[in-house]
Symmetry: C2
Subunit: 507 residues, 2 copies
């Protein structure tokens, strides 16, 4: 509680070290003088197609990035794994530094359908403002020409997630140019298949984890800042799992006239089963669903209470008169596990609907997890609930004997590999340092206990056993995962200042 008090006090009255102040000033001076060159370097990085499954191009990106960091004093290496893009490893030791920072970035991007983009996805195009704001394309600035922070640069991965690379490199250059030394050792972990679901990250960490054993804190450089454009630091993510359930009727679709009112209707059974799992107000009715939720710390509670009120605006945008749990705040709801229905299918709807009683009805359940929830245990709870509704559970399509023995049968498919949530304690000294750094670069950040989305950060917090903090720099309107992805240049500049502050933060 004492530490928390310090943290909240910091948000109001940031205290900057002399070295950090010099670092941020160096960054600002450097990016003012070299804005056009910084932009040109970033355009070069964005010009390389970077879909993780495109093994030739993704390796071009990896080599380019490796070389860029090698040129800035890093010992570098491409960590190999058959069938996976390499991890770009880098290490730079700071004389006398007691702390080691790990920096995670992913250099791959989402696939892009060029027909849906205004410009080719890997032909970076500069705009005087965002397209939505009525911006117009403009040429790249000449060396020495002034750069407007309101400009937008359009390209795949401009926001997600090459932006941290585009900012970190000039931050290093700025400190070098000013003759400032880093206050932390730095280790790099740049992944090349995050958008594919990080299928090899766990294996990479178990194989190469030794190289990262001395990392004290992971800066997870991904995602956007707050919708209000205020900076934010995020201390957790939800985990994820899921299950597909299929309810059975007869062995084949039946004529709804000859059998309607007699044969069980799978869609009706599924409706009862799903209704039994979740109340109309959103409360999950599965026994034990909320029992393993780790309690919120005082720091987390206070951070939640301090979040900007945004729900009403979100409801208006999304056309929702009311949200679950009687308009309970989104940020609070994200601290609980959720049960949603990703998909329903049975027979056909619309023009293809036929007068039948379909043989099956299927629902795909999505479950988001919070700290304390074990993915497999949560699925076990769902199964136990299904059994309590009188269902016999099978894991393959039931044979005739099984069908004739059990009136109510559900097939459960648990083939989805989920992973747990992760949260880093907010009330620890590194938090204070990070808040100082963000404040030095911009203004006091919004502190978010956990994102609603899922990332496999448990690999860092629980497997490697080290704290992580998500440090986003991109604008929220960067169209990540969508056509016309972009980066607002003010966010690139914020990134440069922020990395300079992070690399010069006091012990």
């Amino acid at each position: 509680m004492k530490r928390l008090f310090c943290l909240l006090a910091l948000l109001a009255v940031p205290v900057l070290s002399r070295a950090q102040q010099a670092g941020v000033e160096a960054a600002r001076a450097y990016r003012s003088a070299h804005a056009a060159e910084i932009l040109a370097d970033y355009v070069e990085l964005l010009s390389m197609p970077n879909v993780g499954s495109d093994s030739v191009n993704i390796r071009r990106n990896a080599r380019f990035i490796r070389d860029a960091f090698a040129a800035r004093g890093f010992e570098t290496e491409l960590l190999p794994m058959p069938g996976a893009p390499p991890i770009v490893y880098g290490e730079r030791r700071a004389p006398g530094a007691a702390r080691t920072i790990g920096i995670y970035v992913h250099y791959d991007g989402q696939p892009a359908d060029p027909t849906r983009w205004t410009h080719a996805p890997w032909t970076p195009t500069l705009y005087t403002a965002s397209m939505e704001q009525g911006g117009a394309p403009r040429p790249m600035p000449a060396p020495g020409e002034a750069v407007d922070p309101g400009w937008y640069l359009y390209a795949r991965s401009a926001g997600d997630d090459k932006a941290p690379l585009g900012a970190l490199l000039p931050a290093l250059d700025a400190l070098e140019a000013a003759g400032l030394t880093l206050t932390s050792n730095v280790k790099l972990l740049f992944e090349g298949e995050e958008e594919m679901g990080s299928p090899h990250l766990g294996e990479y960490l178990s194989r190469f984890g030794d190289r990262y054993a001395d990392v004290d804190v992971w800066l997870f450089c991904d995602g956007p800042v707050h919708q209000s454009r205020r900076p934010q630091l995020v201390f957790g993510v939800r985990g994820v799992t899921g299950m597909e359930i299929t309810v059975y009727g007869a062995t084949r679709s039946l004529h709804s006239g000859h059998y309607g009112n007699w044969a069980p209707v799978p869609g009706a059974r599924l409706a009862h089963l799903l209704a039994s799992m979740k109340a109309e107000d959103g409360d999950v009715l599965i026994d034990g669903f909320y029992d393993t939720v780790a309690p919120l710390s005082e720091a987390e509670k206070q951070a939640l209470a301090a979040l900007p009120a945004y729900d009403d605006q979100l409801r208006r945008e999304l056309g929702l008169a009311e949200t679950e749990a009687h308009n309970a705040p989104l940020a609070e709801r994200l601290m609980l596990p959720s049960l949603t229905i990703r998909g329903l299918s049975s027979g056909n709807t619309g023009a293809l609907a036929r007068n039948v009683i379909p043989a099956t009805a299927t629902a795909t359940l999505g479950i988001r997890l919070v700290k304390g929830n074990d993915p497999e245990h949560m699925l076990d709870l769902v199964e136990a609930h299904i059994r309590r509704q009188g269902y016999h559970i099978v894991y393959e399509a039931p044979d005739l004997d099984t069908r004739l023995r059990y009136p109510k049968i559900v097939r459960v498919d648990r083939s989805e590999s989920g992973y747990p949530a992760a949260r880093t304690p907010m009330d620890q000294p590194i938090t204070e340092r990070l808040v100082e750094a963000v404040t030095a670069a911009a203004e006091p950040p919004i502190l978010v206990p956990a994102l609603g989305g899922s990332l496999p950060l448990y690999l860092f917090s629980d497997v490697l056993g080290k704290p992580f903090v998500i440090v986003p720099i991109a604008n929220h309107d960067d169209n990540q995962h969508a056509p016309d992805e972009n980066l607002r240049l003010a966010n690139l500049f914020y990134g440069i200042d922020l990395y300079a502050a992070l690399l010069t933060m006091p012990e």
Copy 2:
């Protein structure tokens, strides 16, 4: 009740008139002597492709049938309607007859995918037994050669619904050859688009109904006999209607991590709505759903009680350990309106499932109607039920204002045009005559108050105001609507004998 007593007595002790006995004997003698020719004539009829939408070929069928009946003393005409296959009209007056029988047959068949047939659908092929029984193809019999009633003739429409034509023509020839006169006037109504849903039948009847004004009873010649191979007479059909309902969440699919536990989940809402409509045991919970059901007559109740027990076998075949309403008999359940779910859809299931909260969830409801139910009124009841669950109903996709005003919104689509059920009273004199005729031709029939399936027979019973009885002759294993459709020759022979008995039944 007195009349019913007579009816049931008849089933036990059939009394045949002398003329009818002569008619059936004439049919048996004729078909024994001319079996090969009868078969050859039927093969010719089956060789003409007869899909209703194939306007050239369907008209070839109509002309062929018209000519065949014209050659047998009928005044014939092709009743025209632009864009529809003609109705083959025919009339043959019997000297001194006080009664007029209407005979309905449809000469069109289901479309056929030749790749799924063992032989070309319109190349009739004779088998020594059914394919399932291990029958082998064999040549058509030579004139005079004996014909085994166990043979099966494979061709599209062999069972559904050219069989009545293939039987009626030789029945007429048999009576003519024996010098017997008809005891009823006969009017023909042969439809050419039943398999397309009889889209113009109502218009045909309102335009040409005068020609049929003197018909006393309609014999609806379609469908199969009982699964036990016993003959049956059917006195009703269920009506049909339906409705599609769509439940709304946000204006777009939402990331299930960022919004799960906060944004309403359309699939969960739909589950609650559907669960509220129908109990797990199959009982429909919509207020008034059973209120307009016309009560069963004593004759209908007794007929239901006399139906062969078949449910256990059906459950075994269909892999059902239990059916709705705790194994209540199928025949009884078909006398009540049914609510089934033809289809469900929301987002995706299976390999395409994504981690989203879909924007909508849709269910297509199927409703089968019984005598007394008005299709529109039943849909009104469903709407009233939806409103009672707190939903605001719209008929087009809701706009943003509507979304922001109402927390729970359902879009209702009532574009499906349904029609009511129809039942003919079982306890009237014509029933006794028909039972006598079937008994004369074979054995006492099973009397079925109503089929579960739907046919627009209300056009005959309620619009024309005349009783109808469904008089099937095809075998139940005739693969109607499927590849390798067929007719068992014993059923063709039963048809010939039956029509001879019907055409010679006493006043």
